[in-house]
Symmetry: C2
Subunit: 600 residues, 2 copies
C-alpha cells in the first residue's frame, strides 16, 4: 500500500496503558446514564456552566467512576448525593502553559497548592530541568507527575540550550524531541523561543515545528512584540500559539493571524488587564489562560490559572465564556480528549463554586473523586517513585579557590563593562565604569555598589568560570549564590568578597543545589533544591518560608532588589538585553557575542 497507507502507529511499550477510559468504565457510565446502575455521585439542583452552549443551566449531574455519566432532571439517586442549590458546577481549570520549575517545587508539591484552587490540569514546559538533565529530566517530570490528582501534560522544550554562548547540562536535538513526542502525555513542542531564527528561516527550528505536526501534536510559540511581516513569517513555520502579547493591539493582531492566544498572568509578566477586552465569545475557541512563571508566594496567595478567571469574572466577563478560556479551550487547543467540559463521557474533573462573582471554590473533584474541599486537600497525594540518578547530584563544580574569582585588566586606565541591574526588571543595562584596582586586579567597590557577578559551570562538563561586575544590588557584605540560572542553570553568584563567594559556591555543591546566603565565613540561610538544583519535594509553603528568610538576610546585608534570588537567576540569561555573564564570560546580548571586561 505504498503511498497510500501514509502513516502507522503502534504500541511499542507493552507495559504502557492509555489514560483513556477502558471499556468497563464506559459500560459503567452507560449503565449509570441509562438508569440501570446507581451512580457513584449525584450533584443535584446545581447551576451547570455549559461551555458548549455558553450558558448556565440548572440541572442534576451523575458521576460513574472517572466519568461524567449524564445530566438532566431525571437523575435523582446515587451512592452519594450533594445538594448544589445556589452553587455552580464548572469543569476543572486547565493552565495552558507554565514552567513548573518556577515554583521551585516538584509536581507533587505544586499539585498540593493548585488542586485546592480548582486547577485539575496543567500543560507544562519542563524547560529548566531539560537544560540540566535533558531527556532524563523530562522523563523524570513525566514520572514524578504520574498518579497525582493533577493532570500534567508536557510540551517538549525546544530551545535547549538557548545559545552556544553557554554550557548547558544537556542538549535536546531533533532526535531527543522526537523520542519524547511519542509519549501520550506529551502534547507538543514547547514555545519556540528563538523567534529571530525562525523568522530568518533557520532550518533546525523549523524542523522542530514540523516534528510536532508529524505526530499530530502542536508547535507552541513565544514571540514577544513580534508583529507585521515578522509575525506572519513566525507563524508560517506552523507555530500555533503565543503567550507573549502585552497589548490589546498585539493580541488582536495575533488572534486574527491564527494564533491561539494565551493570555498570561505570571508573577512578573502580567498581561491580563491589557488583554481583558479580548475575552469575548466572538473569539470562540481561540483564547486561553496561562500563568507561564509563578513564584511560590504568588501561587500560594493569588493562585494559578484560577487567578485569571477570578479577575475576568470580576471584570464582568461572561462566566461561561471566561470558564471556557480556563478549561475547554485549552483542552481543544492541545487535543486533550474528553477534558475541559462537563458532559456525559467526559472525565469528571470539576469544581463546585459557591460564589461565582468571587470564584469561591468549595470543592474540587478529579476523575470523580473529591480531592479538595474549602481550599484544603482532602487526602495525601501519591508519592512518586524515588527520583532517578539523572536528576540528583547534578551540581558538579570545578575545584574552586580564591584565585577562581580573580579579575584583572591589562590597561589600567581602561573603563570596564558592568552589568546594571534594575528593581523589578529582567532587562539589564551595560554601563562602563572606572574599576577599583589593586595593581591590575579589579576589586569589589562597595562605595559605588560594584560587586562581583560570577557564573560557574556546574554540570561537570568543562569547569568554566565567567566573571563580571554588577551594579544596583546594594549588598554591603557577604555573598549570595544560586544553582537556578536561566536557562543553562549554572551556578550564579554575587559577592562582596572572594572568600564568601567561594564559601557560597562550595556550600551549594554540598547541598546539591538551591539558594544560599553567606557572610564572614558563615552560612546565614539556605534553601536546598535537591532535584537538578532547581526544585524541591518539600511543601511549597516551606519553600516560601525559607525564601523569606533568605530575603531577610539579604536585606540585612544591604540588598535593595526585591526577589534578589530571582534577579540573580536571570543575570546569566544571554538572550535578554543587554549584558549578561555566562560560564563563557561576558555576553553582549544585542550583538550575541562574547565581550571583554575592558572596553576597547
Amino acid at each position: 500500500m505504498k503511498g497510500c497507507i501514509l502513516r502507522k502507529f503502534s504500541f511499542l511499550d507493552k507495559d504502557g496503558e492509555t489514560m483513556m477510559p477502558k471499556v468497563e468504565e464506559l459500560k459503567k457510565a452507560v449503565d449509570v446514564a441509562a438508569g440501570r446502575e446507581r451512580a457513584d455521585l449525584l450533584i443535584k439542583n446545581i447551576n451547570l456552566i455549559n461551555v458548549f452552549s455558553n450558558e448556565i443551566i440548572k440541572s442534576n449531574v451523575v458521576i460513574a467512576g472517572r466519568l461524567v455519566a449524564g445530566f438532566g432532571d431525571d437523575y435523582k439517586d446515587a451512592k452519594e448525593i450533594i445538594d448544589g442549590t445556589g452553587k455552580y458546577l464548572a469543569p476543572g481549570l486547565i493552565d495552558g502553559h507554565l514552567h513548573i520549575e518556577s515554583s521551585l517545587a516538584t509536581p507533587r508539591s505544586y499539585a498540593e497548592v493548585v488542586l485546592p484552587k480548582g486547577i485539575t490540569g496543567v500543560v507544562c514546559d519542563p524547560h529548566e530541568i531539560g537544560n540540566v538533565s535533558g531527556v532524563a529530566g523530562i522523563n523524570w517530570l513525566i514520572e514524578a507527575s504520574q498518579g497525582l490528582e493533577l493532570d500534567v501534560w508536557v510540551t517538549v522544550p525546544s530551545s535547549v540550550p538557548a545559545t552556544d554562548l553557554e554550557t548547558s547540562g544537556a542538549k535536546l536535538g531533533l532526535e531527543e524531541i522526537e523520542e519524547l513526542l511519542a509519549h501520550e502525555r506529551v502534547v507538543g513542542v514547547a514555545e519556540l523561543m528563538s523567534f529571530p531564527d525562525i523568522i530568518a528561516g533557520e532550518q533546525e527550528n523549523l524542523a522542530k515545528a514540523a516534528l510536532a505536526y508529524k505526530y499530530h501534536k502542536t508547535a507552541e510559540g513565544h514571540a514577544p512584540s513580534v508583529r507585521g511581516l515578522d509575525l506572519q513569517a513566525y507563524l508560517a513555520s506552523g507555530i500555533s500559539s503565543d503567550h507573549e502579547s502585552t497589548t490589546y493591539e498585539e493580541g488582536l493582531e495575533k488572534l486574527r493571524s491564527g494564533v491561539y492566544l494565551m493570555i498570561r498572568e505570571g508573577s512578573v509578566t502580567r498581561d491580563l488587564d491589557a488583554l481583558m477586552d479580548l475575552i469575548k465569545i466572538e473569539y470562540a475557541d481561540r483564547i486561553g489562560f496561562v500563568t507561564d512563571d509563578r513564584l511560590p508566594n504568588d501561587l500560594i496567595k493569588e493562585g494559578g490559572v484560577d487567578c485569571l478567571l477570578r479577575r475576568a469574572l470580576a471584570a464582568g466577563k461572561d462566566p461561561a465564556y471566561a470558564i471556557r478560556c480556563a478549561s475547554y479551550n485549552t483542552a481543544l487547543h492541545y487535543k486533550l480528549d474528553r477534558r475541559g467540559a462537563i458532559a456525559s463521557g467526559y472525565f469528571a474533573d470539576f469544581i463546585i463554586i459557591d460564589d461565582l462573582e468571587n470564584l469561591l471554590i468549595s470543592a474540587v473533584y478529579k476523575e470523580g473523586k473529591i480531592v479538595a474541599q474549602n481550599a484544603q486537600l482532602s487526602k495525601d497525594l501519591a508519592r512518586p517513585k524515588a527520583n532517578p540518578a539523572a536528576v540528583l547530584n547534578t551540581v558538579k563544580l570545578p575545584k574552586l579557590s580564591l584565585e577562581s574569582f580573580k579579575m584583572t585588566v591589562e590597561n589600567l586606565n581602561a573603563k570596564v563593562r558592568c552589568v546594571k541591574a534594575s528593581p523589578n526588571q529582567v532587562l539589564t543595562e551595560e554601563i562602563h565604569i572606572s574599576p577599583k584596582l589593586k595593581d591590575n586586579e579589579v576589586l569589589v567597590d562597595l562605595e559605588n555598589d560594584i560587586l562581583k557577578l560570577v557564573c560557574i559551570e556546574r554540570h561537570g562538563k568543562n569547569g568554566n568560570i565567567g566573571l563580571g561586575l554588577i551594579n544596583g544590588i546594594g549588598l554591603k557584605e557577604g555573598a549570595i549564590a544560586s544553582t537556578v540560572g536561566h536557562d543553562h542553570h549554572n551556578l550564579m553568584a554575587i559577592g562582596t568578597n572572594d572568600e564568601d563567594l567561594l564559601l557560597a559556591a562550595n556550600r551549594l555543591e554540598q547541598i546539591q543545589g538551591g539558594f544560599v546566603i553567606v557572610n564572614k565565613g558563615q552560612v546565614l540561610a539556605e534553601l536546598q533544591l535537591e532535584i537538578a538544583g532547581l526544585v524541591s519535594d518539600r511543601p511549597l509553603t516551606e519553600l516560601q518560608d525559607k525564601l523569606d528568610i533568605l530575603e531577610e538576610h539579604a536585606a540585612k546585608l544591604g540588598n535593595k532588589i526585591t526577589s534578589v534570588f530571582m534577579t540573580l537567576s536571570f543575570l546569566g540569561l544571554e538572550v535578554i538585553p543587554e549584558l549578561r555573564v555566562t560560564d563563557f564570560g561576558l555576553v553582549d546580548v544585542v550583538k550575541a557575542e562574547l565581550v571583554s571586561l575592558e572596553v576597547n
Copy 2:
C-alpha cells in the same frame, strides 16, 4: 519507564510519508512571509473571511507552495497576482460526514463534481464498500483518493455487518478497525449506528468507541431521535458527534449534552431548515455542516456541503460564522491540522467568492494551486492506480434457475406477509394479503400490484436466496435489479415474472454490478457499477444520464415510485421498520427476527 511512558507511536511504514508540510516547504513559506522570497501568488484587496476573529477584513494574502504564507497590506508582489477587489476569500469547504458511495461514484468522479463547488475536503465513511470488501475496500478508498485535489479523510465503518440476519461481504471487527485507525488519513470510528446496543451497554460497540480514543481520534455518532437518558447513555460511551437531529429542540439538547452537532442536508434527509437557528456564534466550535447521503443529481444541481452554506447565508446568518461551520469547525472536530482557515502556515485551500450573498464561487484553490474556475475544473484530476482485485468481480451469485424464485405455501388459506413500499419513504409497512395461488405456488398478482421481491447473496459465500412479496411499486411487466442493497449489498430485485428476474440477476453478474431493467427477455437499460457493485469511475453526469434512462424505462413498465432504484436498495435493510427481505428471508425489523411468508 513502566507506568510512565504511557504510549509510544512509531512509523512502521517506511514508504509512508506524512501529509504535513516538510521543512523545505516551511522555509519557503517563512521566506515569503518575511518578504525575502517572491510569493507564488498574491491575492490583493480581497475581503478575507477570518474564522478566528469572526470578521471580514480587507487584506492582501500571499501563498508559498502548498501554504498560506501571510496576510497584510505590506504584501505587494508575487509571481502571479489576482485582484480581489470586491470579492471574498474563504477557506475551502469541508464536509464533515458523507458516504461517497451514495453518489455511485469513485472519489475521483466525486471530486470532479464537488471541487468546482468550493469543497476541498470531505470526511468519508466508506460504510458500503466496507460491507462488500472489508478492510480491502477501505484501503481501496484511501488509495483511490490519494493524489486527488480533494482531501478525503476517512472514518472506519463501525457497524459491518449491521446485524446477523444477513450475509455481508465482510466483517469489520475490533482488529480490523484498529488496523485501519493507524492510517494518517483515518480520523475516527464512523457513526456508531447500533444506538440501542450502545444505550444497552453492549461491550463490542463500546470497545469500538474506546479504540478511537486509544488512537486520539474521534468516535462518531448516529442517534436519530435519541434524547433524555438514552442520549446521556449513548454519549457516555465517548461518542462525540451526531448528524441525525431533525428538530431544533433535539439539536439543542444534543448540543448542550456535548455533541458536536452536524447539521445535515442530504438528498432525502433534509434537516437544515429545522436546525437553522442553531447556527450562531454562541455555539462557537460546536456546529458543522454535512451532507451524509447525496444522489448524483443533487450533487450536480444543488451541490454538496456548499448547499448548506448557501442556504445559511440566504437565511441571513453571519457569513464568517456560517463559513466556520463549513470549514474550520469540522477541521477542529476531527483534529485536521492546519486546515479550514486562512492564516499563515495553514494549507492554502481556499475559494474566491464573487457574490457572498448567493455564494457565487469563481475560483477554487487546493494547496496553493487553482483547481477550478467559474464552476469548471481547471485540469484533469490524477487517475488512481488500477483498482485492486478485492473490489472487482465482487458479484458472485449462486447458480440460478427459474426454480430459484419459486415461492410456496403450506396452508392454501393462510394470509401471507407482504412488504408495502411508500413513495418518498424509506420506511416500509408489513401488510397481510391473500396470495394469488397456483396449487401451493405463490404467483405474482399484477392486478393487486403484488410483485416478487428477491435478495440473492452475491458475495460468493453461501448462495442464500431470500424471497418475499412487495406492494406499491406498480410495475406491470419486466424486472429491475441492483447490487446496491444496504447495508449488505446483496443483489436486490423486483420482478413481475421469474424469467425476467432470472435475466436481471444474471445480467448484473455479467457486468459485475450496478442497476438493470429488463423486460421480455431483453435488457432495456443498465448502469454498470463495476467497483464492488457499488460505484463507477465514469463521470457523475454520465452516471446520472444512465440513471435517468433507467427511471424512464421503469416508468414505462408501470413504476410509480420516484427513484425506484434507491427505494430498491433499501428494501433489504433489516434495521429500518417494518418488513424487509435479506438473503436470509423475510425479516420483521421490530422484532429483529426472521419470519415466515405465511402468517400463523
